[in-house]
């Protein structure tokens, strides 16, 4: 494939890109102004014919303006490849010129939302570990062009081309629909519920902003307080709500997992993992082995029974940007053999199973009890101030056992072990997480000690990697110093690049 020749001149994306950009702008506009639309529909009958006419004209003009904008964005979006650099020109009035060296490119991802699926184009995202400005998103390329571009960028990766011959086309992992349902039913439903609540709250805020603007705030407040006061009276309602929330939580996890991970397929190619997933938005991610900073293997009791767990891959994130969720890549529904395969791909020849687990000092448990106790007493204080009735304190009967249970669990699950190359840190309460990090990927180490810890001769060790912190809490100072020195020794003598 003479793919490089294709990209040596500046070129635009596929013409269908105009449509994708146009719809994208419309979608954004809709998201910002949907409340006006809502108002408009509500008051539709109250408008006189002439105002209606002006509104239609205005909307039409706006649509045309958006279309011209989309066309100009398309027209000015040009890219090419030169000297191992990806060069991009864009901007209508404010022109920007971006150039990214191939070494800095962390990922090349393909994505397809519903529209892109219908018109059969792929969105190509080029991710770097640098600033967010360097993230490039090409909205529409035909599959052939997209793969040619990917090839052109990755072709210089020598190790990749050497091994290209022994490519295996059978997927390492394929999660079917039933399997996915199984995965989603055993998800952390509480987390799903919280996510849903967060979405609903932002939705509610938008609505309440609207009502406030219209001076109807009180009506809404009255409505809510009326409902909450009756809620206090009826236990049946509470139980009903609990069941309702449980169902909602389970449903929302099922929907979330199925939407995100539908038809999850993982290939091992050229020393990299290729991950395809998604229902409405199809996602293809290529995970280069060297770019992975650390991985976490997690499961919970039910998943353990079913023999499935999920792996989270953490890649380098840039300093000032907020934690980017999409840089965390998750593979759900892994069986034991597949985990082994992924582990051997990322960390070959490492046998860590027959090492002793080192546990934290009992101070760690005491600290958790202290913090938990503090939290509980603050909560009780707030309850005392907020409610006059003493019924509210009954919640402690439920909370205290939960606290004790989870503290004991997390103390028991907190351990660490390491061999010459790797550190494993285990943690978790109901879920169990096992994090693997190679010593040479550590960016800096920190030893932390409070006065109380100093009296007991224990310390916390914090390993900072390019993708986040890993902490070993409360171990004896002698061991902490040993592991500290050893980490520094490994990092300073390592010849491998951490990225």
């Amino acid at each position: 494939m003479d793919s490089t020749a294709n990209f040596s001149q500046f070129r635009r994306q596929s013409k269908k890109g105009i449509l994708v950009i146009y719809l994208n702008i419309l979608y954004k506009a809709f998201k910002a102004f949907w409340i006006f639309l809502f108002l408009f529909i509500q008051k539709f009958s109250k408008f006189s014919e002439s105002t209606l006419f002006y509104i239609y004209v205005g909307v039409a003009l706006l649509l045309i303006f958006f279309f011209i904008r989309a066309y100009l964005i398309f027209k000015n979006f040009q890219f090419k490849i030169e000297n191992h650099h990806f060069i991009l020109k864009k901007g209508i009035i404010k022109k920007t010129n971006t150039s990214i060296s191939f070494d800095r490119i962390q990922n090349i991802n393909f994505k397809q939302n519903i529209i892109q699926q219908i018109i059969n184009v792929h969105e190509v995202n080029i991710e770097t570990a640098g600033s967010s400005k360097a993230e490039i998103s090409i909205k529409a390329l035909s599959f052939k062009k997209a793969s040619a571009l990917k090839q052109a960028i990755t072709i210089f990766d020598k190790s990749a081309t050497e091994q290209a011959a022994e490519e295996v086309e059978t997927p390492l992992l394929k999660v079917g629909f039933l399997e996915l349902i199984k995965v989603s039913l055993t998800e952390n439903h509480l987390q799903s519920l919280l996510l849903l609540v967060a979405i609903l709250i932002s939705f509610f805020q938008q609505i309440s902003d609207l009502f406030e603007g219209l001076g109807k705030r009180e009506i809404l407040d009255n409505y809510i307080s009326k409902n909450t006061s009756s809620l206090e009276n009826s236990i049946i309602l509470i139980v009903g709500l609990l069941i309702f929330f449980t169902i909602i939580a389970v449903l929302s996890s099922v929907v979330r997992v199925v939407l995100k991970h539908f038809n999850l397929t993982v290939f091992v190619k050229n020393n990299a993992l290729e991950i395809y997933q998604g229902l409405t938005t199809k996602n293809a991610v290529i995970l280069k082995k060297d770019k992975v900073q650390h991985i976490t293997i997690s499961d919970n009791p039910i998943k353990k029974k079913l023999g499935i767990s999920f792996i989270t891959f953490k890649q380098a994130i840039s300093g000032k940007v907020k934690k980017k969720q999409d840089k965390i890549i998750k593979i759900v529904g892994c069986k034991g053999a597949q985990i082994e395969a992924i582990k051997t791909l990322l960390f070959p020849d490492e046998n860590l199973e027959n090492f002793d687990k080192n546990f934290s000092d009992s101070y760690f448990r005491n600290r958790m009890y202290l913090r938990g106790g503090l939290f509980l007493s603050i909560m009780n204080g707030v309850l005392f101030l907020a409610f006059d009735v003493s019924h509210a304190f009954w919640i402690n009967i439920l909370l205290i056992p939960v606290f004790i249970f989870s503290i004991e669990l997390s103390f028991r699950k907190q351990y660490y072990l390491f061999n010459n190359e790797f550190l494993i840190v285990g943690q978790g309460t109901i879920e169990t997480h096992k994090t693997y990090v190679p010593f040479f990927k550590v960016q800096h180490v920190k030893l932390k000690q409070t006065v109380f810890q100093a009296r007991k001769n224990i310390a916390d060790v914090v390993f900072q990697t390019a993708s986040g912190k890993i902490k070993i809490p409360c171990i004896s100072i002698a061991k902490a110093h040993k592991i500290y020195n050893y980490t520094l020794f490994k990092v300073e003598t390592s010849q491998k690049s951490w990225m």
Partner: protein, 169 residues
Amino acid sequence: MIDSFQNIAVTSFPEITKTDFKPIENKYLKVILINTFIVFIIVLVLVFFADYKNILEFIENTIWIYVGMVFCFISVLIVKKIGLKKRKYAVREKDISYEKGILFRSLTTVPFNRIQHVEIDEGPISRLFGLVSLSVFTAGDSSDDLKVSGLLKEEAKQIKEFISNKIDG
């Protein structure tokens, strides 16, 4: 079963505990003093203004606020003064370390081959005393990488030079 700590094949490598740490310049105490004093004055003015405008009338005797503030100020100064002696740094062959804290002690080491860039900052008050602060940054979320305040300008420049040579070389 294998014990991780017994398994370490290399038996001798430089130990951080046996490294000589250097305290930062004593002059830096004056900088801290002035900085704390400025904050104190600002808070004092704000409280005085609030008092003057009778915003604080729900407190019976406002004099206690001032007493409390002075007490806070003095205790902060004492903590800072003791804390200053605990602020130490060490530059070794391949890394730089910084130690600090009385109540919350911490020791951080950044290997040179992970450093992305080095920065020297001169605050307005530090400049009066010829002091600077040296920060090193690594990849990823580098919000709490290493920062050594209260270094002599010459010394900081030397360290920066040293690190830059190590990174490039």
